[in-house]
Amino acid sequence: MNDFFTILSPSYLLFPALVGTLIMGLVCPLIGSYLVLRRTIFLGLTLPEIAAAGVSFTFWLQQTGVLPQFASGERSIGMIGSLVFTFLGMGLLGYLEQRGKGLAEGRLAAAYAFAGALTILFMVFNPTGQIEVLNLLKGEVIALSRGELKLLTVVFGLVFLTMLVFRREFLLISFDRDLAFLLKGRQIIWDILLYLLAGLVIALGVIMAGPLLIFGFLVLPALAARPLVSRMSSFLLLASVLGLIMAFLGFYSSVRLDLPLGPTDVALGCGLIFLAYGLSRMTGKARAAFLALALCSFSLSACGAGVTSPPVPDAKAIHAEQLWLAKVKNSTALPLLLPAMNPLRSLAEMAGKTSSDYRQSVMDLLRQSLQTELAQRGFQISLPEDKDARFAAFSADRDNALRVARDGKLSGAIFVSEILRWEGESQKFVRALVDFKLIRIDDGAVLWARRVQRAVSTPSATNLGQASTDAIKEIVNDLFAS
């Protein structure tokens, strides 16, 4: 799969997530630029944390029955909490600022610590909703739906337009309050508007992308743009462009390397800052040459991503019709059991009357799918445990697999699979890292190997079990597609 061009296609299942990330990358730096210039950078750190406390708080209220269950879903509830807490927090910080007691940094640091503590405490009070809250706070922008994308587009679009229309007022009030007063009278309205926009972006962004990514988008592009420009208009433009670059490269790297988006984006943003300070010390020509070189490297890397891996070969092609299909090894430390279909058995399992052994696992389902596909490729499939019941799952490590196969007196070829990561936290996608190998036992030659490392979209799944089943189908199809 050519990830670079695939993610740009509107039909790509994670396309809404890419667009959402780009929108945040474009708009957040505009707000963040003013936070940086006004030296209120810690506000950008504290407000997302306060928003996160709001998310945690509303889930706790819902669990205690104070808030009703909303049909619109968990994100809507989180969004309400996020908005209310963000604006309350801003109001309180503004009030304390007016009173002028103590250090501004001290107030922000205390608010940050308090909000962080509240987030955890509300989660502890609400053990049943802990996973949902954690997922929301991690901000899996990858799970952004088309409906949420519309909301994000409207709100962030309005913020963008407001920043554009009132750019002169925001600059004047931020840079020289005395001149702003002389030219436009009492200008507290512009301060309030700027902080309202910041609150809106943060409250919505935290629920869509998590506090870390929002803080990253707010301040990192602005910090990276600062050493490169000497004009305000160029500064705002470059901060937004760097935000877009950070969003796109982060998304691309996240898809290609199967990394979590938030930390990947933030790490890239920090890299941009170092790069910007390096570039600011270069002369014009050296800077242009460096950028051209970086662009070429990226283009080559993106084109290189287009090299497709070969599918599982036919039996005739490798002259090994007899194939041992080993049990799939689970190295995730999670049971990876699929939900039971029989409610009575589930009740019995919960009551401790029966074990969970009867339930199918991801490993079972993957092996069944592999067996069907390999048989269609002309292989005569044998199962090692049919020969000797002591055979357990094989590791995908060649030497280990060979040792176990040879000890068990197997001959011919063996197909081994090992699940290293299988995270189905949302029914919308499964993060998978699975190794597959086809090994000839006699000479130890690896005839075919593939590592699947990606977030597999499962848009039609209605529960986590269905998501795993759909992801297995997608992965196996990918392995055998010519």
Binding site: V36, L37, R39, V165, F166, R168, E169, L171, L172, S174, F175, D176, D178, L179, F181, L182, L183, K184, G185, R226, V229, S230, R231, M232, S233, S234, F235
Partner: protein, 239 residues
């Protein structure tokens, strides 16, 4: 000549000898912060075409007086009358008071002076851009219009801030320590510029400095402040 500040010489209530009304008139005003007066019984009037210097040691209340004139501080008592809107006040702050964190070119700084006239949703008018270049030429700084403001020397910054104040189309200019942190050559050129603005454009110019000798040499009138008291002296500029 030393006179108490309520001297009629400086403060004819209805106008000066030529019948010209003052642009700003302070009558028996007390100034300060949080009802703690810094200056009391201040009487002062500023007329068009006059170069008035405000001299006094650091912390004597010069900036407090300016902030009151500009409406940034409310007087604690007395009457403050302005015969032109605040939009016609050209204010030149100390360049050190501006935050160097902002990436602003000289041209952007000067264009700020026109922000009061330009509607929010409009592009910056070409005529205003041309005017910005004109005022930069007037202060001899047109050649640095594309440069970063904070990369300029102290004297250059002051001239650019004067250009910004001129961009407002002022009737009165108030300059807070325009010569502080500036080399001798720049001091000379800035004082020449202030004299020119007063004589040729008929602006009222009110500037502060703790360099009494320079103020005496340049100003038409000198307002002295020290230890809460205000008095007026003649300067050599009127001769």
């Amino acid at each position: 000549m030393k006179t108490q500040a309520n001297s009629e010489e400086l403060l004819p209530a209805g106008g000066d000898a030529a019948g010209v009304s003052p642009l700003v008139a302070l009558e028996d005003i007390s100034l300060g912060y949080d009802s703690a007066p810094v200056l009391i019984h201040v009487n002062l009037a500023i007329y068009p075409g006059k170069l008035v210097g405000l001299a006094g040691p650091n912390g004597s209340g010069k900036t407090t007086l300016f902030r009151t004139l500009l409406g940034l501080l409310s007087p604690l008592g007395g009457t403050l009358a302005r015969n032109c809107p605040l939009g016609n006040f050209g204010y030149v702050p100390q360049s050190a008071a501006l935050d160097p964190q902002f990436p602003l070119s000289v041209r952007e700084i000067v264009e700020m002076g026109a922000y009061g006239r330009v509607k929010s949703f409009r592009m910056f008018p070409t005529a205003e851009s041309r005017r910005a270049v004109q005022v930069l030429e007037q202060v001899g700084m047109a050649h640095v219009k594309a440069k970063s403001f904070f990369a300029l020397s102290g004297g250059q910054k002051q001239r650019v801030l004067i250009a910004r104040a001129l961009m407002v189309d002022p009737k009165i200019m108030i300059l807070d320590e325009p010569l502080s942190g500036v080399d001798e050559e720049s001091r000379r050129s800035i004082t020449e510029l202030l004299v020119r603005l007063t004589r040729e454009q008929g602006l009222a110019v009110f500037f502060s400095s703790h360099d009494l000798e320079m103020v005496q040499r340049v100003a038409d009138k000198i307002v002295r402040v020290d230890k809460g008291k205000v008095w007026v002296e003649e300067g050599n500029g009127c001769s």
